[in-house]
Amino acid sequence: MSSETSTSKTPPASDVHVVAALPSWQLFALAGLVGATIVVFVSRGQSPAAIILLSVVVFAAAAVGAAALRTLVPFVRGYEGLSVSIVGGRARAAIDREKTLVLRSIKELEFDYAMGKVSDQDFAEMGLRLRTRAAGLLRQLDAGAAYSTQIEQELTRRLAEAGIAAAPRADRFCTQCGTSATATARFCGQCGHRLETA
């Protein structure tokens, strides 16, 4: 059984290029397989359970190697600071989250109303309150515009870093304010004007 595993799963070791291109964890998996094969060979005569467990030990040891590498690699590889993304977007994300919350509440209220759990009067009153709040949040989100432009810029920059050309952008513009829009957008991100869907 064990010899079968080692022959069928071990890639051809002669092909050095393939091995060099492997992600590190695959190297360790390979090492684990080789180690397990050796263990099986050395400990012939022991009970199958013991041999299986020894193989598990070897595999776990390979995992230790991989994890150790994972611990050390970050020091070699450069990372740019992560502070950029967190701080600016935080408040906005919170508003966005609150908006979803309010929208969900509206949905829930409509459902409860349909289930007959809320009276007409309450439904009207609470519905209005929630909708007003949601509209307020939408306005707040609009006020912090230029956000999508920021994202676009960041995206282009990162793509350029990775050596990938940015995807061609849809040449759609809002008929009201002239802001560019993506191909699938149904409303303008700037002024909320309804866009003609092609």
Binding site: P74, R97, V118, A135
Partner: protein, 817 residues
């Protein structure tokens, strides 16, 4: 191998310390490299623990008896399966198992959330690492599982405790531990949120799923423990309020409370401080439960023995946890301020408040009652017993109230319900409940608690059925499909809600099974071959006694035929197994014939091989299997709630495939045990009502069971027969109930012979305090609710919504689900 294992533990400790330190440094200096390295170190810890676990299991398999732990908990004739599970059979190994599980679980949680909650992750790594460090430290200095014998090593082990050589016992601890360990993850995220100050709701999202998973494991763990107790201990019941069982139940209560109150925060942004506090309390209770059972502070069947050093270490850790955690809560209070507003008492928020109050009170009560003997010993130097009667007296009304709330809660709307709505939605469920109550009364059920329980169950089932039905109809009208598709769509759209309802149904089944306890019948009879005894509608005939041996143990089996209405009902084989290495404590192999209506539960109590006489205890346990089915349904419900959206996204797989399979496997496992293993009628051993009553109140002094005389499963035990004899003697002397109890206390020299403390002196605290706490907490809830409801009516903004914005809103709403 032993030294390799020890070095691995040392390495794990170092890696842990590194992960904790580097993560804090990384987070403070905002260095991605350091943080990534910390995450890597945590994975490394998991890998190291995997190697160490494999090493110790290997030692068990090859029988390396130079390692003390291996020598003490296994032997060469043990079946392979139990050799593997011996890993967690003792204290040292179970700590190591705990550490391993926490590192695996933690790695998974970190891996899943590393991008989504990037700002929290470094502190999550730190918190989990610090918890791990404590347990690793414990192993290194105090409970090293790899400790070897210094001089000559024994050639064979002493073997795992026979009681633990049971299928359910092998899988019960891992599930339980997974539940316990899993609850560390919400704690770590909560603490990370407190430390960083990112206290919006995002950490809750990360935590919700993990809490649900842990809760599932905890519930199933408790269920498996019950099945084990039922099958292996042989006293006919499944829950005896043993401290270790209670230790598992405590975090279950608080985690349940959290799962409910988290909805209030998500929906309404309320209860922020409360939720953080609940997460911390839950984690604390998991640690406290471990402490309680591992250090010998309380007496219990499961406890591993007295260990003051361990108790001291645990105390330090617990105090530190509490101080640091709540210190951060206080420090962050300004950020936790929430918009609390309660529109009406007749709202779901209010129902959740009451639910939390009851669950927290349950947790408090169980904790208090479990610790009371220790408390009493510390204050008055008198050891008492707080047994099942005391717990049952309290938990029965609490449980029924909770069941009632399960039915009421879903019927209330968020924010506000009006009289009209109430009448509309309560009509069917209440009718169902009342009809059941009347039917139960007409059928002549005289156990009123069970009757109430049946009625409430019907009420809750009515509620849930109505929720599904009405929801499906609404959905059907909205989408224009058939009812079934609408039902699936309904569940898919709000998996957590409807999964939760399924869990509620599971709870109803469990309660339904509990109610069966009220109709339990229990008899005992000494039978020669051919003789029979009548219990309820069953006749139990003893046919023969056989004695066999399989090398590891001697097996004495009684061959019994059970007849019902004169027709053969089942062949059953109750047995006693005497393990070679543990001859002083033979195990009871119960024979159970399972059925939907009742279990016939036979125990071979004593035997006389020469005359082939067997003394057989017969229990008729109605409805027990509904409890196990309830646990299956509970797993199914959680499965639905946890399913990823993708499962529902294509119409070809309308049913939650995984969940159903999981539950089916669970049910199959439970029910496959259903086939039972084991002529003149003689009367069962007669017991007068007084004798039964007293026997239920006096503790058996056999020294291990901690049950009342009437419940002790070891029926040939010297303790029980002696006590029974005394009771009979006193009754013959004409003593009344109180006099007999007084005599027992005098002769025993302490009140701990009674199953519950007498209601006087300091003990009155035990009887009074729960009332006081309940009332104070209720007042607290009422006060907070009043304060929240006294907000000024929020006037809607005068500014009308312009049409443009309104259309956008509608569009967003449409896109929401």
């Amino acid at each position: 191998m032993a030294s390799l294992g020890y070095y691995l533990l040392l390495a794990a400790f170092v890696v842990c310390a590194y992960a904790a330190a580097i993560s804090v440094a990384g987070a403070r200096r905002r260095s991605r490299a350091l943080i990534e390295s910390g995450i890597g170190a945590f994975y490394l810890l998991a890998a190291i623990m995997a190697v160490a676990s494999a090493v110790i299991v290997y030692s068990f398999v090859v029988g390396d008896y130079s390692i003390r732990y291996v020598q003490r908990y296994s032997d060469s004739v043990q079946p392979m399966f139990y050799k593997l599970t011996s890993y967690w059979g003792g204290l040292d190994g179970s700590i190591m198992f705990w550490v391993s599980l926490l590192s695996f679980f933690g790695s998974a949680a970190i891996y899943v959330n590393r991008e989504r909650h990037r700002e929290l992750i470094p502190y999550v790594v730190t918190v989990i690492s610090v918890v791990e460090m404590f347990f690793l430290f414990l192993m290194i200095v105090h409970n090293n599982p790899f400790q070897t014998y210094l001089t000559e090593s024994p050639t064979d082990g002493t073997g795992l405790n026979p009681l633990l050589q049971n299928f359910y016992m092998a899988i019960h601890p891992p599930t339980m531990y997974l539940g316990f360990v899993g609850l560390t993850i919400p704690y770590a995220f909560g603490m990370a949120a407190l430390i960083t100050g990112y206290l919006d709701d995002s950490w809750l999202r990360a935590v919700r799923r993990w809490t649900m998973i842990s809760w599932l494991f905890l519930s199933i763990g408790l269920g498996l423990g019950m099945i084990w107790a039922y099958e292996e201990l042989g006293w006919g019941g499944y829950w005896m309020w043993d401290p270790v069982e209670n230790a598992g139940l405590l975090p279950w209560f608080t985690a349940t409370a959290f799962l409910h109150s988290v909805m209030v925060q998500e929906r309404r942004g309320m209860l922020r401080v409360w939720n953080v506090a609940l997460v911390i309390t839950t984690f604390f209770l998991t640690i406290f439960g471990t402490f309680m059972t591992r250090s010998g502070v309380v007496q219990s069947v499961h406890a591993f023995g007295d260990d003051p050093e361990l108790a001291r270490l645990f105390t330090i850790f617990m105090v530190a946890t509490v101080v640091v955690s709540f210190g951060f809560v206080i420090y962050r209070l300004p950020l936790l301020r929430a918009r609390n507003e309660l529109d009406s008492w007749l709202s779901r928020e209010a129902a959740f408040l009451v639910n939390n109050w009851i669950l927290l009170f349950s947790a408090f009560f169980v904790l208090f009652a479990t610790m009371f003997p220790t408390l009493s010993e510390a204050v008055r130097g008198e050891r008492l017993t707080v047994g099942p009667p005391f717990f049952n007296q309290w938990m029965l009304p609490i449980g029924l109230t909770l069941l009632l709330l399960t039915g009421i809660g879903p019927l209330l709307a968020w924010r506000k319900s009006t009289v009209q709505n109430l009448r509309d939605s309560f009509l069917i469920p209440v009718t169902l409940g009342v009809v059941t109550a009347v039917a139960v009364a007409l059928l002549g059920v005289r156990v009123w608690t069970s009757g109430i329980c049946f009625a409430l169950s019907a009420f809750v089932v009515g509620t849930i059925g109505q929720e599904f039905w009405r929801g499906a109809r609404v959905r059907q009208r909205a989408t224009g499909t058939d009812v079934f598709t609408a039902l699936v769509g309904l569940v898919a759209r709000n998996k957590r809600r409807y999964g939760g309802y399924v869990v509620h149904l599971g709870m109803v089944l469990i309660f339904f099974g509990f109610a069966g306890e009220g109709f339990k019948q229990k008899e005992e009879a000494q039978l020669k071959p051919g003789q029979q005894v009548k219990v309820g509608s069953f006749v139990v005939r003893h046919d023969a006694l056989s004695i066999t041996d399989d090398g590891q143990k001697q097996m004495i089996t009684a061959h019994v035929t059970v007849l019902r209405d004169g027709k053969p009902f089942a062949e059953m084989y109750p047995a006693k197994w005497i393990f070679r290495k543990h001859e002083e404590s033979p195990t009871t192999e119960v024979a159970i014939n399972r059925g939907f209506a009742q279990d016939v539960y036979l125990v071979l109590a004593t035997f006389d091989a020469a005359t082939q006489t067997a003394s057989i205890a017969v229990d008729i346990n109605p409805l027990v299997n509904w409890v196990w089915m309830g646990f299956g349904l509970l797993a199914l419900g959680i499965g639905i709630a946890l399913l990823p959206d993708a499962v529902f996204s294509f119409a070809t797989a309308p049913l939650p495939a995984n969940a159903a399979t999981t539950a089916l496997i669970f049910l199959a496992v439970v029910l496959s045990q259903g086939v039972a293993l084991a002529q003149d009628t003689i009367p069962a051993i007669f017991r007068s009502p007084l004798e039964r009553q007293v026997a239920g109140e006096i503790m058996c002094n056999c020294g291990g069971c901690r049950l009342s005389v009437s419940d002790c499963g070891m029926m040939n035990c010297h303790g029980k027969s002696g006590q029974m004899g005394k009771i009979q003697q006193y009754i013959a002397e004409g003593k009344d109930h109180d006099a007999i109890l007084a005599t027992f206390v005098r002769e025993h020299g302490g009140y701990d012979v009674l199953m519950q403390p007498p209601n006087r002196g300091f003990n009155r605290v035990a009887w009074l305090l729960p009332y006081v706490v309940a009332v104070v907490a209720l007042l607290g809830v009422a006060f907070t609710a009043r304060r929240w409801s006294r907000h000024e009516a929020a006037a809607p903004d005068a500014a009308p919504i312009d049409r443009e914005l309104d259309a956008r809103l509608e569009d967003e709403l449409r896109n929401l689900d």
